[in-house]
């Protein structure tokens, strides 16, 4: 905290987003960079709270006041060191995190929170620009070999931590790109793929081996995995999308969101797609089912593809603009959130339950829905879903995208063959060291936690790396990452 009254002098001022018209015509990132003075001024708004709620709000425990202080001083390299001490990939979280830290920021009580996420992005981008982020290979190799299955944020975090602890790490990825959802799931306008690639390059130079197109349990036997490596970490994500088993689901033109988003990312990466498999919103009436981040990603993508109209339907009620008293600060605010995509177009509707689809020639044409009343509660106090009689309505549509979340990791293949225990939700069960029921096999990220944020994935990965290092070495110098539950 260079300036104790910084928050009185500067208002919150996030970096500019490119104009809507301009950005709808391409897939490039939305945000521009701050001038350095503005970044410092925004850093000075941090009050250096003795009880930094932001730091608690961040799943990684990013030491936010400390890097804000360094930013205010203009010590960007020190700021980067602070940031990296808890977060391997601030350039990812600086772009695609919903920033629970900002929600918890003390200034958020009666003012606007510090622009923590953008400061994080700025620090990380400067780190690459200035060459401060460079390979840091370990000084000593332990000779131990570790396989990490899945190259999403959790897998990358595991790999970097374990490599730095001196182990030889091989990351196996069934897709053709490293990065998991970072690369294939998240649209480029939120996270440019170059941002992922430059980090992967650094890691490769540090000594991490990346193998793509390796599908463990299918074309790489599980037995070999266990035999050839001293330990394994499963970071294969929660990829089983939630489907909507209603009449008409089998019609063409109804897709899981991930089918849609990954295809667009592959196209942007320069791949070609069989026209018969092409899913495009161009000129179509699009309905997105699901009001979350994936839904918003679909929305931005559909608008860029030239959709005629896009509806985003949500089963739950529209959240309030401000917190309810039952949801006080610093809890995650259950409020209406708008992504930049919502600035670009689309129509949102709430309290909608999809009953069925109808169409012609095997193609979807109508979505049949009914309105829901959530006002009654069941005996446990939970809101009850009640259809409102007579509120049935129909939406004309050509393309329906199901963005209703994910269930758990795919069980067939690797997981079944390994025979690791699952939790009741179908995720891989782990102990406090992130080890599965199989000694030497660890798991982290969405695969064990269930679908969640990138920031959680990194935290899970770091934690798993610690447990794994401890397993291999009997002691560890790697830090904890997940919050200790008091």
């Amino acid at each position: 905290m260079g300036d104790p009254s910084g928050f009185l002098q500067s208002k919150r001022n996030p970096p500019q987003r490119r104009p809507v018209a301009e950005r709808k015509s391409d897939y490039r990132e939305l945000y521009q960079r701050w001038p350095e003075n503005e970044a410092k001024a925004q850093g000075s708004r941090c009050m250096d709270c003795a009880v930094p709620f932001c730091h608690m709000g961040c799943p990684l425990g990013n030491v936010i006041p400390d890097f804000n202080h360094q930013v205010f001083l203009g010590n960007w390299e020190s700021a980067l060191r602070v940031l990296h001490s808890t977060n391997n990939f601030p350039e990812f979280t600086g772009r695609i995190c919903p920033a629970p830290c900002e929600a918890a920021c003390v200034l958020n009580i009666n003012d606007d929170p510090v622009t923590i996420e953008y400061i994080e992005k700025e620090i990380a981008d400067r780190g690459f620009d200035e060459g401060w982020i460079k390979p840091e290979p370990p000084l000593i190799r332990t000779g131990k070999k570790v396989a990490v299955v899945g190259s999403g944020p959790a897998g990358l975090a595991v790999a970097q931590q374990l490599n730095r602890a001196g182990h030889w790490v091989t990351v196996m990825e069934r897709d053709e790109y490293i990065g998991g959802l970072l690369t294939l799931g998240i649209p480029d306008f939120k996270l440019d793929k170059e941002v992922v690639a430059r980090r992967v390059d650094v890691m490769a130079d540090e000594g991490v081996v990346f193998e793509t197109g390796v599908n463990v349990g299918r074309d790489f036997p599980v037995k070999r995995l266990l035999a050839e490596y001293d330990a394994v970490c499963l970071t294969c994500g929660s990829t089983e999308g939630r489907d909507l088993p209603v009449p008409g689901r089998e019609l063409n033109g109804i897709h899981l969101a991930m089918e849609y988003l990954t295809q667009q990312n592959r196209l942007l990466a320069g791949q070609s797609v069989d026209p018969s498999q092409r899913i495009t919103a161009q000129g179509k009436r699009v309905v997105i089912l699901g009001g979350g981040d994936t839904g918003a990603d679909c929305l931005g993508t559909a608008l860029r593809q030239g959709a005629e109209v896009v509806y985003q339907l949500e089963l739950m009620s529209e959240p309030p603009e401000k917190r309810r008293s039952s949801n006080p600060w610093p809890q995650w605010p259950q409020i209406l959130r708008s992504s930049p995509a919502h600035e670009e177009g689309g129509i949102r509707d709430y309290d909608v339950l999809t009953k069925s689809f109808t169409g012609r020639d095997g193609r979807v044409e109508q979505l049949h829905a009914v309105r829901i009343d959530w006002s009654q509660s069941d005996s446990n106090g939970r809101p009850m879903l009640q259809e409102i009689a007579g509120s049935e309505f129909v939406v004309e549509t050509d393309l329906v995208l199901l963005a209703m979340g994910f269930l758990h990791p795919e069980h067939s293949g690797m997981i079944e063959e390994l025979g690791v225990e699952l939790d009741p939700m179908g995720n891989i069960k782990t102990d406090e060291n992130k080890m599965t029921s199989l000694p030497g096999v660890f798991a982290g990220g969405d695969a064990s936690r269930g679908q969640s944020l990138v920031v959680w994935a990194i935290a899970e990965g770091r934690e798993a790396a610690r447990g794994l290092d401890m397993y291999l070495m009997g002691r560890t110098s790697l830090p904890h990452s997940l919050p200790v539950t008091a």
Binding site: M47, V63, E136, P137, L139, P479
Partner: protein, 1518 residues
């Protein structure tokens, strides 16, 4: 006696912590003529000082009094002859006055011992005499423990020629008897009775557990007309305990003492360490029979008496010996002669000062020597009559002396002494005495030839710098964190001052933490409270000194040039250049040797112990080899070698050498990577280090500067700043205990350990209090190895090269646990704001359930459920319980008006109590608003700054709280920076807006326990309906202080924990000063119950209380009231920014910024919701434990259990049994407050004044009163002022409504809180605290009309006049003592001369001094104006230019003001100096100096520029 012994064994009571203070008096015939009249007048003086003594439970048993007189030879000749025991001539025999056990067989054994030793040592046993006494005159308790009192007569043996030799031989005899007592076959209890009051040829002491009035009736000798003496030295004791001891009464064998020796532990250790060096031809082989010189376990006075006796036995004069023990402040004295400085400097090579407030009168029978310590914190007034009688005492007016017979009235000044020589028949003054002493030897030449100054030594080449990656690794090995670099180190390096912070400490005690802890963290700083005052090392730096010698000490029985062949250091914290000089030192016998304090990290458990043993052995050898300086160094940490904690290495060597008796043969210098904070340096010095070279901290600072982390501070400056900040900090830590010099602080061990095992303490930190057991060497080793491992084992991890983040000061997720963490804060806010019971429960669970992460001692406790529970509805309702709750003392100013009033309204609605804090209160809050609410704080605080303490403030309170200490910074004052004082805050505090305010560390009217009793009396006099509180902070001995507070008639004692909150304190104080309240409350309950005092005083606990469980535990440990502060702010929105000191509170609480104040979102309802939840939680616990009322559960420590927790923490060796000890007496006496104190107000003179003022009070008609007055009439005028305030509020009565004329010597606090409308004219003189808090009245003091002494040369008024005055006028025809107009904020005063520290901390009003002043005038003066008539032209050297400027009086407004003040003075007093000045105005005016505070002028100029008048015309709205 047994009860306290049991308590000391099983409970928290420590007898070493007993304190006393008192009245001292002397009556003497200067010419040496002996008479019985002198003896009886001495006893009369004792009686007139009676109010300075105290009594305990039994109103007829005093704390002790006594008298020392010359040997009444003619009386004994006759008496002994009649007993068949003819005596040799005077001086050929000595008398031992002996207390013997009452049990006859024990008596026989003791007497046999005495007789045997006398004969063995070659003296003649003449016989025994029963001292005639009348036990019926004793109080019940005194009688119960009354010894058998006999005198033994001892004749000069054959072969003893020198009259001095028999005195030496008697000393040897007494020492042998004392040492052999344990072996003479009597029980320990019987031995407790045994005591030799005196054994001398020249003096005899009659004393006992007596009240002043009883002594003559008890000791029949004293009433016997044949008992004659040229002097009577008397003493009346006020002790903190009740179960008094006959032997603890004063006078001791050579002296009587008023005050306290703060450095006692160190002094004892050092004296002990010197013993092996003692040699003297006078004693020869007898020398071996004397040690230990210091009686083990004796009181501070007994110890200094031992030390004085020893020095006298070396052949030194009484005055010489006294000056060695208590030298004046010479180091920074502007005008002291070189010969005197040489004398002091030379003697500082011989021994360290005994530091602390002390007024000592001593006698060897031939002379009487009186001396006041360097701070002058005890009053001592004397009168010399025209017929050569000297009357001196703690007060004036103790013996009626006709004014016409007075030759001189004076006072003893700080650091001064005088001697009455009966042989010469005259008084020898300070100048002559010291001149003679200084010329006994060529001290100056000796110093020149032998002293070695660091500055004079050549600079050797320094060691090379440590490279950056190595520094990081070293920092890791020594446990540095990023947080401390960012918050602590950089603050010191940039600003040269310690970092400040706010809010309390909510992190775990070191022993309960799961983080790696430095050994330093287990120690808590102790501090002065009540029984002695802390000092202000900033404003009163003239008495402080960082200078000290190190090297080899010589035999104390001699004086040779070689004695001062030592190395002189300016400061105990040294730079690399200075260190290198010491490392290469080789001058004469001064050579240094470096011993490594590293241990082998790889050789398994126990290697640290091996290294320590080895280190001690090497130190012994170094001394044998003749090294005068031993350097303990942990340089060279690498992957194999780890550092022993520097604190451990230093203390280990220090105590090893003390035990070995060689400690004074070498100085210790510590070269270490460890120390980096004030607390660290204070500890190293406190455990014996002569100098500390913090090489790693200095390297760190340099590198931070070089890498631009210090706002551009250059490396050299950064290093200097860092050292300066730590030096200032160490001075402050010393000052907290009232210690002035590093030389006496060194080795004084002013710390308490929490969480260290007794074994560890006994071995390495001997005598340090440590009351709950704890870790041993194995844990210290493991922690050291863990730090070492971080640096050297984890090096293969590429990304882990930074320091750990910390989390000790600020919450960090993976750092230290904090009770105020995000979850707890969020839950509590939701609970209070949404009135959500579930959230409260969740909050309470987070706080209470410390099974996983324990932070507090109470976290280790569980309730024992061995009583049948009761139904919840039978438990007293929450609405009753909340009345026991109070909010903390948070001043308006430190928090906003909105926040302050919210607390007031909430607490008043519940019938609970809010607290003003130290900032006054807007009197408009005393009226009820339209809602029926009032925001007036029930508790009004009276703190050292006395801001806004007016009669109106005092009468509008249900409780008046005297803040002696504050948990976050006990022993320190406060500061409110100017920018936080807007018009409103300034108006409320009666100070100038925009001008910084200083609260002094001590109350300047409380330097001792009897002073506190006086302030309690003052406050009770103004508002007899209010309960008087005394707020203390837990530390070892607080229970004993609380007992003293109870005896001083306080109604409530508040024991705060170390962890209490603050708006602005040094971080090191927040973290390291004071102890947990659990220890304080338990100790308080134990001691009060054992003394049967608990029934008359309520006990309140505060300090990080958060839940109902906290209160329940406090109650079971002994509290019946409970204070909550931080939590009450949190419910109003506080989110623990800890930025209160910066005023940038984003939720509008701790700020005066109008924009931020708008953010305040608190409501009284939130506070009420919270306290209701707390009370409900408490009720549930009560129901479960089977209590229907809180009173039933007070002190039931037997229902607390620590077994499970202690099992959990087994490896840490905790033992809470002392905390949970319940005195068996608890079943017999009151254990909670159930009766009223007798404040003794019935006899107050004010009752007469009120009766005589009825017409003025009722009808505002003027009245005139004429009455005599004497010194026992105290606080005169205050009760009348209270009546006026109650009726007429802030306005008072019209001027001159009540005119009072007094004749005589007025007692203390004359005219205190005098309200508008009262004019007092006193003909006579006054004692201390004249016009304390005067608030609009007027006082004139003149000598009696028949006095012939020159008034302007004599002391008419005591010390600390007009302290905290807020308005009115005072004219004094004569001089005053120290601290005239201290913290004055409004009185207009004229006087003819003042002592030291005049106008200190003044913030307003006007003072004219028509004569000379003492030193340090205007220190800390930030407002108001003073004029001094500087006839000699040397005022400037006595003026403190810190905050004010000195200028001529030229402004016409000033001239007019000064002239009118002098004219008024002449008018009221007929002053001769005033007349002379006015007669020669043209020539006199240029001799006046105006003292103008700089800040004050700036503000006045600004106001002028804005066209505003000097003062606010109307009351501003906040």
């Amino acid at each position: 006696m047994n009860e306290l012994k049991e308590l000391a064994k099983f409970g928290l009571y420590s007898p070493e912590q007993e304190h006393d203070s008192c009245g001292v008096g002397v009556v003497a015939n200067i010419k040496g003529g002996k008479s019985h009249q002198i003896v009886s007048e001495g006893i009369q003086v004792l009686i007139n000082l009676g109010h300075r003594g105290a009594c305990g439970r039994d109103p007829e048993t005093g704390d002790g009094s006594g008298v020392m007189i010359q040997m009444p030879d003619s009386f004994f000749q006759i008496e002994c002859a009649s007993l068949g025991m003819p005596l040799p001539p005077a001086n050929d025999y000595g008398v031992g006055m002996v207390f013997l056990p009452p049990q006859e067989d024990a008596q026989v054994k003791c007497q046999a011992l005495i007789e045997r030793v006398i004969v063995d040592e070659g003296l003649i046993l003449l016989g025994w005499r029963d001292v005639p006494t009348d036990p019926r005159k004793l109080g019940r308790d005194a009688r119960a423990v009354c010894p058998k009192i006999r005198q033994v007569f001892i004749g000069r043996g054959p072969g003893i020629e020198d009259p001095a030799e028999i005195e030496r031989k008697l000393y040897v005899v007494r020492k042998i008897i004392e040492h052999s007592l344990a072996d003479c076959g009597i029980t320990e209890d019987e031995a407790d009775y045994f005591y030799i009051c005196s054994m001398s040829c020249h003096t005899i002491v009659y004393k006992g557990l007596l009240m002043a009035l009883q002594i003559e009736g008890f000791y029949l000798d004293l009433a016997d007309e044949r008992v004659e003496s040229a002097f009577a030295l008397v003493h009346s004791r006020f002790s903190t305990n009740t179960l008094g001891h006959w032997k603890l009464a004063h006078p001791y064998r050579y002296l009587a003492h008023n005050g306290e020796i703060n450095t006692l532990r160190g002094n004892i250790n050092w004296m002990h360490a010197r013993e092996t060096q003692f040699e003297s031809p006078m004693f020869g082989a007898d020398m071996a029979k004397i040690p230990p010189m210091m009686t083990p376990g004796a009181s501070d006075t007994a110890c200094i008496d031992n030390a004085l006796e020893l020095l006298l036995m070396t052949g030194r004069d009484l005055s010489h010996a006294m000056l060695m023990l208590i030298p004046e402040a010479w180091e920074q004295h502007e005008s002291m002669s070189q010969e005197k400085k040489d004398f002091y400097e030379y003697h500082s090579c011989l021994m360290e000062p005994w530091d602390g407030p002390a007024m000592i009168v001593s006698s060897d029978g031939h002379s009487i020597c009186a001396l006041l310590d360097r701070n002058g914190l005890r009053p001592f007034r004397y009168t010399i009559t025209k017929d050569d009688k000297l009357v001196m005492a703690s007060e004036t007016g103790v013996l009626d002396v006709p004014a016409a017979n007075v030759r001189q009235k004076g006072r003893l000044e700080p650091g001064r002494m005088f001697l009455v020589s009966f042989d010469e028949g005259r008084i020898i003054g300070d100048e002559e005495l010291k001149h003679d002493l200084a010329n006994r030897q060529p001290y100056g030449q000796w110093l020149k030839d032998n002293k070695v100054s660091l500055d004079d030594l050549p600079s050797p080449a320094g060691p090379s710098r440590i490279s950056l990656p190595d520094v990081l690794q070293q920092q890791q090995a020594f446990g540095f964190t990023l947080e401390e670099l960012r918050m602590m180190t950089s603050a010191m390096a940039i600003s040269g001052a310690e970092a400040v912070g706010s809010m309390g400490n909510d992190a775990p005690l070191a022993v309960l933490s799961d983080q790696n802890q430095l050994l330093f963290n287990y120690f808590k700083q102790l501090f002065a409270q009540v029984t002695n005052p802390p000092l202000d090392a900033i404003r009163e730096d003239l008495v402080t000194s960082l200078e000290a010698f190190i090297g080899r000490e010589q035999n104390l029985f001699e004086e040779t040039p070689e004695h001062c062949h030592q190395l002189k250091l300016h400061s105990p914290i040294i730079s690399s250049e200075e260190f290198e000089k010491i490392r290469h030192l080789d001058v004469g016998n001064l050579r240094s040797i470096t011993l490594s304090t590293l241990f082998d990290a790889q050789s398994g458990p126990g290697s640290m112990k091996t290294a320590l043993d080895n280190l001690c052995e090497q130190a012994s050898k170094a001394i044998i080899d003749g090294y005068g300086i031993i350097i303990l160094s942990d340089r060279g940490v690498d992957s194999r070698w780890a550092p022993i904690p520097s604190m451990l290495a230093t203390a280990a060597v220090h105590h090893h050498l003390i035990r070995e008796g060689t400690r004074t043969k070498a100085g210790l210098v510590v070269e270490s990577g460890d120390p980096r904070e004030v607390h660290h340096f204070a500890l190293l010095i406190g455990y014996g280090a002569g100098a500390v070279y913090p090489y790693l901290a200095l390297e760190t600072v340099r590198q931070m500067a070089e890498t631009g982390e210090l706002n551009g501070t250059k490396p050299d400056y950064a290093e200097k700043n860092f050292i300066k900040a730590n030096e200032k900090g160490v001075l402050k830590v010393m000052s907290k205990m009232g210690i002035s010099t590093v030389q006496s602080y060194r080795g004084a061990q002013i710390f308490e350990a929490v969480g260290l095992s007794q074994e560890l303490i006994d071995e390495y930190f001997t005598w340090t209090p440590s009351r709950i057991g704890g870790i041993g060497l194995d844990t210290l080793e493991a922690d050291a190895l863990e730090r070492h491992g971080r640096a050297f084992a984890g090096e293969q991890v590429a990304a882990e090269r930074d320091l750990p983040p910390g989390g000790y000061y600020q919450w960090r997720r993976d750092g230290e646990f904090h009770q105020w963490n995000p979850d707890a804060i969020a839950k509590l806010q939701d609970a209070a704001q949404a009135n959500n019971r579930e959230s409260y429960k969740e909050f309470a669970r987070l706080v209470n359930d410390q099974s996983k992460r324990t932070a507090t001692l109470r976290g280790l406790l569980e309730f024992k459920k061995d009583r049948p529970s009761v139904p919840l509805e039978e438990v007293e309702p929450a609405s009753e319980i909340v009345k026991r709750f109070a909010t903390g003392a948070i001043s308006l100013g430190s928090i906003s008006k909105e926040a302050h009033e919210t607390l007031g309204i909430a607490m008043n609605r519940m019938g609970a109590r809010s607290n003003t804090g130290e900032g006054g209160e807007d009197y408009r809050r005393y009226t009820t608003d339209a809602n029926g609410d009032t925001s007036s704080s029930a508790i009004k605080q009276v703190a050292s700054g006395r801001f806004g303490v007016t009669p109106n403030y005092l009468v509008n309170a249900t409780d008046l709280q005297i803040k002696m200490a504050q948990g976050s910074k006990p022993g320190e004052g406060g500061q409110l920076s100017g920018n936080k004082i807007d018009d409103y805050i300034g108006w409320v505090r009666k100070t100038t807006p925009g001008v910084e305010l200083i609260s002094p560390p001590p109350h300047h009217d409380i330097y001792s326990i009897e002073d506190l009793a006086q302030l309690i009396h003052d406050l009770k006099t103004v508002n007899s309906d209010a309960r008087i509180h005394v707020k203390l902070v837990a530390e070892v001995g607080v229970g004993t202080v609380a007992a003293g507070v109870a005896k001083g008639h306080a109604d409530v004692v508040l024991i705060s924990g170390h962890d209490g909150g603050t708006g602005n304190s040094p971080e090191s104080s927040i973290k390291y000063a004071g102890l947990p309240w659990e220890l304080g409350i338990a100790e308080t309950q134990q001691v009060l119950v054992a003394n049967d005092l608990r029934g008359r005083i309520s006990v309140q606990a505060d300090g990080q209380l958060k839940t109902g469980r906290d209160a329940a535990i406090a109650a079971l440990l002994g509290a019946e009231e409970f204070g909550y502060a931080t939590a009450a702010l949190v419910v109003n929105g506080c989110i623990m920014l800890r930025k209160c000191h910066l005023g940038t509170c984003s939720v509008g609480i701790a700020t005066q910024d109008p924009e931020l104040r708008k953010m305040f979102a608190g409501k009284p309802e939130y506070v009420i919701n919270y306290f209701t939840f707390v009370a409900e939680e408490m009720r549930e616990i009560m129901a479960e434990l089977g209590f229907r009322t809180v009173n039933e559960m007070v002190g039931r420590a037997d229902l607390l259990d620590s077994r499970e927790a202690v099992d959990h923490w087994k490896d840490k060796g905790l033992d809470l049994s002392r905390l949970l000890y319940r005195d068996p007496k608890s079943d017999e006496v009151a254990v909670y407050c159930c009766e009223d104190q007798d404040h003794g107000l019935d006899t107050a003179l004010d009752h007469q004044l009120i009766a005589l003022s009825q017409r003025a009070l009722e009808h505002q008609e003027p009245v005139t009163i004429d009455l005599p007055i004497r010194n026992s009439d105290r606080t005169v005028g205050a009760m009348l002022s209270g009546k006026i305030a109650k009726r007429y509020g802030e306005d008072g009565l019209p001027a001159g409504s009540i005119k009072i004329r007094f004749t005589g010597s007025a007692g203390q606090s004359f005219g205190a809180f005098l309200a508008k409308g009262i004019d007092i004219h006193l003909e006579g003189d006054t004692n201390d605290y004249l016009g304390k808090g005067i608030s609009g009245g007027s006082i004139v003091v003149c000598p009696p009309s028949d006095a012939t002494f020159v008034a302007e040369d004599n002391i008419i008024v005591g010390n600390t006049a007009m302290y905290g005055a807020t308005g009115g006028e005072v004219y004094v025809r004569g001089r005053a003592g120290e601290r005239f107009c201290v913290r004055n904020s409004g009185v207009r005063a004229v006087i003819e001369g003042v002592g030291d520290h005049g106008c200190e901390y003044m913030t307003g009003g006007a003072v004219a001094v028509l004569g000379s002043t003492g030193r340090n005038f205007a220190a800390g003066m930030s407002g108001g104006v003073a004029f001094v008539y500087d006839d000699e032209g040397d005022f400037e050297i006595r003026f403190n230019p810190g905050l004010a400027d000195l200028e001529p009086v030229t402004d016409p407004e000033d001239i007019a003001m000064l002239r009118s003040m002098i004219e008024d003075h002449l008018n009221y007093t007929g002053s001769a100096p005033a007349q002379r000045i006015l007669d020669d105005w043209e020539n006199a005016l240029p001799r006046f100096k105006k003292i103008m505070p700089r800040d004050y002028r700036r503000i006045l100029d600004e106001r002028k520029a804005r066209g505003e008048s000097k003062e606010l015309e109307t009351a501003p709205n906040g």
